[in-house]
Amino acid sequence: MTITDERASNPAAGGADRPIGYGRIQRKEDPRFIRGKGNYIDDIVLPGMLHSAILRAPVAHATLVSIDTTRALAHPGVVAVITGKDLLGLKLAWAPTLSADVQAVLVTDKVRFQGQEVAFVVANDRYAARDALELIDVEYDVLPPVIDARKALDPGAPVIRTDIEGKTDNHIFDWEAGDAAETDAVFASADVVISQEIVYPRVHPAPMETCGAVADYEPIEGHLTLYETTQAPHAHRTLFAIVAGIPEHKIRIVSPDIGGGFGNKVGIYPGYILAVVGSIVTGKPVKWVEDRSENLMSTSFARDYIMQGEIAATKDGTILALRTNVLADHGAFNATAQPTKYPAGFFHIFTGSYDLKAAHCKVTGVYTNKAPGGVAYACSFRVTEAVYLVERLVDILARKLEMDPAELRIKNFIQPEQFPYKNKTGWEYDSGNYEPAMRLSMQIAGYEELRREQKEKRERGELMGIGVSFFTETVGAGPRKHMDIVGLGMADGAELRVHPTGKAVVRLSVQSQGQGHETTFAQIVAEELGIPPEDIDVVHGDTDQTPFGLGTYGSRSTPVSGAAVALVARKVRDKARFIAAAMLETRPEDLEWEKGRWFVKGDPSIGKTIAEISMGAHGTVELPEGIDGNLDAEVTYDPPNLTFPFGAYICVVDIDPGTGHVKVRRFIAVDDCGTRINPMIIEGQVHGGLTDGVGMALMEIIQFDEDGNNLGGSFMDYLIPTAMEVPNWETGFTVTPSPHHPIGAKGVGESATVGSPPAVVNAVVDALAPFGVVHMDMPCTPGRVWEAMQGRPRPPI
C-alpha cells in the first residue's frame, strides 16, 4: 500500500508532485464542471424532441371520478395527453417497485398522495406542456387520509391500498433481527434500563439537479435510448425490459452527468416511464424534467422512522443489550430501495460499535397517504437511523450514569482483537480499531479543555454543548449469497483496455453523481499498473459501453467496483508479465514488478514498461501460447462481505438561551475508511455529508398537515443548510484496511451523513442539560429547542 497522501505542501498535487496511484490530486472531472461544460439531462437536445409536463394530484387521498382532456388537447402546441386509462390499455398503469410492491404510473382508481401523477402532457415546448396542465379537468372525490403513521394500523383507518386484492389494513411488513428472548432476559436482570422514543423525521435528498429523462424510441428497429438521471443504469435497463416488454438488447440507458443523487435517483419514477410512453406514442424523443417542487413532493424521501429504543447496562457502565421497536412510514407505495431480504435495510446494525450480550429489533412498515420511497438517502440502507438510535441511547445512558459520553463509548467498544466481529443481529464486521479514532477526535477537539470551558459557561448561564458520536457503517452491498435487488445480484463488473501506446480505458458498471469516480478509479488503475491517472479514461453511465453492475448508492462504488477495478488491473498486470517475458526472452517467473514495469530479477536495468508491453501485445511480438494480442481484461466482482468504515465525531454548539437558536461552533470528524485513495475526494465526501447532517439535525423535515398537504414543497419551506450554518470542518483520519478488499478500501460516501446528526443532537441536548433535557427530536429549530428548554420537547410528528 502506497500512501502518498498527506502532502502538507501541496494539497492537490499537479505537475511533478502528482502521485502515480493513490494520493491527493485534483479531480479529473472538475475542469468541465467548473467551465460549465457538464452534460446534464436538461442539456440534452435531440432533433425533433418534444417536451412534457405531469399533472399532479392536489389532494392526498381521493377517488378519481373523471378526467377530461379535451381542452388540453386543443391547446396550441399540445401533441398528446396521456391518462391512467391509456396506460391500462398498454398494461403500463402500474409498475413494480424495488420492494416487491407496485406503484401507479398514472392514477387510475384513486389518488394516494398529494403530488401523485395524474396525467401526462406532451407538447412542442415546455411552456405549452405546462400551460395545458391547467386545462385538464379532473374531478376528485376526496377521502379521509392516513397521515399519522401511529394511527395507520388503527382498526378504523381508511385502507389506502384498495388496489391490492384482499387488503384490509395499511400494514406492509413486520421484520425482526436478533434474539428477542435472549435480549429480554438480559434486560430483565440489568441494573439500568433506559427507554426513549426517538424519531428520525422524513427528510428529502434534495439533489441539486432534479430528476429527468429524455426518451428516444426508434420504432423501425425497436430501439429505446433513455437518458435518465439514474444512479443505477444497468438495473434500470433490466427493469425497463421487464416492465415495458422491450427486449433488453434493444434498450440503452445513458446516465450522463448527474447533479447529485443521495439515493433520490435509484428507483424508477413514473416520469421516466411516461417519457418512454410519450416517445412511443408520438414517435419523437420526449424530454421530461421535473421542477423543484415536484422533486420535493413526489420523489423518494428518506427516514420517517419512529423508534422506541431501549438500552440495558450495568451500574458501572457496561452496555449489555439493546432493543427497539420501529414504526416505519413508507408512504403510499412500498418503493424503498434495498436488498430484497431486508425490508428495513441494514437497520439491524443498530448495535453500533459496541460489544453487546444481546440485541433485538423489530420494524413494522405501514402505508400512509404520503409520497413513496424511504430510499437510501446517503444512509447506506438505513444505517443512518440505526446509528442515530444507538448514539442517542448511549448518550442518554451516559447522562443517567453521570459518566463522560466519550469514555462510556470507549469502555464498551468492540476491541481490535475481536475482529472479524460477529454482532448479535447477524453482521460480521470486517475490521476496526475504534479507540484510537475516538482518542484522536478528542485530541483534535481539545476535549478536556472544552469540558472545562463548558463548566465555566454553565456557571454563567451560557449554553454550550459538546456532542460525541461514534459510528460503524456497513457499506458495499453486497455478497450475492445474501443480497439482491429485485432478483439482481449486487456484483459489479469492470473492463480495462490498455491501448498500444500505453494509455488505458477502464469501464465501470457504477455511475458517479459527483463522487469523483473519474479520478478515484483512474487512481486505482494507476496504482496497480504504474501509469499516470491522467492516461486512464474512465467510462461510466452508458449501458452500451460498460459491463453490468448495480450502480452507485449505499457507498458501494469503492468497496465493490473499486475492488473490481483493482482486480481487473491486476489481471492485466499478470498478462503483461507473460508478454514481457516473451519480449525479454525469459520466463515470467524470472520477472519482478515495480510500479509501471516488469524487470528481470537481479537486473533491474532490463525490463519493459506497461506501454512497451502493450505495444508489443498489439504489435508483432511472438506471443506465448494462450495469450492473445491485447492488454485487456474484464472481471465481475462479488464481494465476500460488506466493509465497515467507522468514525468518531465531536460537535460543539452554542445556544442562545433567549431564542433557542443553535450555532454549530466546531465539528471534528475523524474517519476511518481503510486505505485512502484520494484524500481530497474523501474529505469532499466528508464535508458534504457533515453539512447534510447539520441540515437534518437543525432544520430539515417534510411535514404534512392533517389533510395530507405537503408543507415542504419548496426550498422556502424545506430548508437545507448553507455555508452560514456550518463551521470550518476539522477532519482527521486513521487507517484500518479492510482485510477482504483487494486494496483494503472501505466506502466513505455516507459516513458523515450517518455519523453527524447524532453528534449535533447530542451536543444540543448536552447544552440543554441545565434544563433537565435528556432528549429532543430533530430538527432542532429555535422554536423546538425553546420548547425543550421549557420542559416540553415535542416529537416532530
Binding site: 429549530t781 422554536g783 425553546w786
Partner: protein, 292 residues
C-alpha cells in the same frame, strides 16, 4: 424549471412612461422591480400578471440623499446599497441590522426597498423598519404625487395604498437628534424569513430621558407599533426594568399564528425577548449618539 403563466413584458424608460404603461395595460399589469418577490410567486402561479412593467432602467429612483432633517431613499435602491451605506449605518443602524438578515447576497443585489414595501409581506423586514422610523412614502400617479405615512401606506398583509396605476417612488426617513435604533430577527436558517423580529428606535431628550420611542414587530401579527410600551417608556430614563416591562407588553400586543417556524407561545416569547434586546441596543446607540 418552474414555469409562470404566459405574460407580456415592457420596459419603462421613465416614471411617466411606467405610469403610462400601467394605464395602457390595465389592472392585469404589474410593476417588476428586483423581482425577488414577484417572480417566485409567478413561478408558483400564485401571481399571474398579464403584463410586467420593468422599472429596472429607472436609475433616477436609485438614490440615498440627505435632505435637511430627513434621508430620502429612492424606491429602486437595492438592499445591498442600503446595507453598505455608511450614512445609513450612522443615521439608522436599524436598517443595517435588518439588511444583514434579509435573504442572501444574490437576493439583496436585486431586491429593492420599493418592492419590499409594496409586497407588504407580513414577514417583510423593511416594512417594520420603516414603521419604526416613522417613514413617509412618496407615491406618484398620473395625477401627481402624494405623501403618506406608513400607517396609511400599509393596508394589510400583501396590501398597500399604492393603487394599480401608481408607483412608489421614494421613502423619506426623518432624522432625529440623539437617536439610536436596532433590529433583531430570529430565523431557522440564514436567509429564511423571520420566525419573529423586532425593531426599535429611541431618541433621548437632553436630560437622557426617552423623548421618542417606536417598537415594531415582524411576522407575528402586529399592525403599527407597540403603543402601550411606547407610552410606558416615554419620558423615562432607559433602564433594564423598563425594557423588561416593554417586552412583556410587546408579547401581549402581538397576535402570532402557529406554523412550521414556531408555536404561538414561542413567538410571543420572542416578541418579549427581542423587544428587550432591541430596546437595549437602540438605547445604548442613542446614548452614544448623544455623547458623540
Amino acid at each position: 424549471m418552474q414555469i409562470p403563466a404566459p405574460f407580456d413584458y415592457a420596459r419603462a424608460s421613465s416614471v411617466d412612461d411606467a405610469l403610462a404603461l400601467l394605464e395602457r395595460h390595465g389592472p392585469e399589469s404589474l410593476i417588476v422591480a428586483g423581482g425577488h418577490s414577484l417572480l417566485p410567486m409567478m413561478k408558483l402561479r400564485l401571481a399571474r400578471p398579464e403584463w410586467l412593467i420593468d422599472i429596472n432602467d429607472l436609475f433616477e429612483l436609485d438614490f440615498i440623499v440627505r435632505d435637511g432633517d430627513r434621508l430620502r431613499v429612492g424606491a429602486m435602491t437595492r438592499h445591498t446599497t442600503l446595507f453598505e451605506s455608511d450614512e445609513v449605518r450612522r443615521l439608522f443602524p436599524i436598517i443595517t441590522d435588518a439588511e444583514r438578515t434579509i435573504a442572501d447576497p444574490v437576493v439583496r443585489n436585486r431586491g429593492t426597498i420599493g418592492g419590499s414595501l409594496c409586497q407588504a409581506d407580513p414577514a417583510e423586514d423593511l416594512s417594520t423598519v420603516c414603521i419604526v422610523l416613522g417613514a413617509e412614502a412618496v407615491i406618484r400617479g398620473t395625477a401627481g404625487e402624494r405623501v403618506v405615512s406608513m400607517a396609511e401606506f400599509h393596508v394589510g398583509p400583501y396590501e398597500t395604498s399604492v393603487a394599480h396605476n401608481e408607483l412608489l417612488v421614494e421613502v423619506r426617513l426623518p432624522i432625529r437628534p440623539r437617536s439610536g435604533s436596532a433590529y433583531e430577527k430570529v430565523e431557522r436558517r440564514v436567509g429564511d424569513w423571520a420566525v419573529a423580529a423586532a425593531g426599535a428606535s429611541v431618541s433621548l431628550a437632553e436630560d437622557g430621558t426617552i423623548d421618542h420611542v417606536a417598537i415594531g414587530l415582524t411576522a407575528i401579527g402586529l399592525d403599527g407599533t407597540v403603543t402601550e410600551a411606547e407610552a410606558m417608556l416615554h419620558g423615562k430614563a432607559p433602564s433594564e426594568e423598563l425594557f423588561v416591562e416593554a417586552g412583556r407588553l410587546a408579547a401581549l400586543a402581538c397576535d402570532p399564528l402557529a406554523d412550521q417556524r414556531g408555536a404561538i407561545d414561542y413567538k410571543r416569547h420572542l416578541a418579549d425577548e427581542l423587544t428587550r434586546r432591541v430596546l437595549r441596543r437602540a438605547s445604548s446607540r442613542a446614548a452614544e449618539a448623544q455623547e458623540g
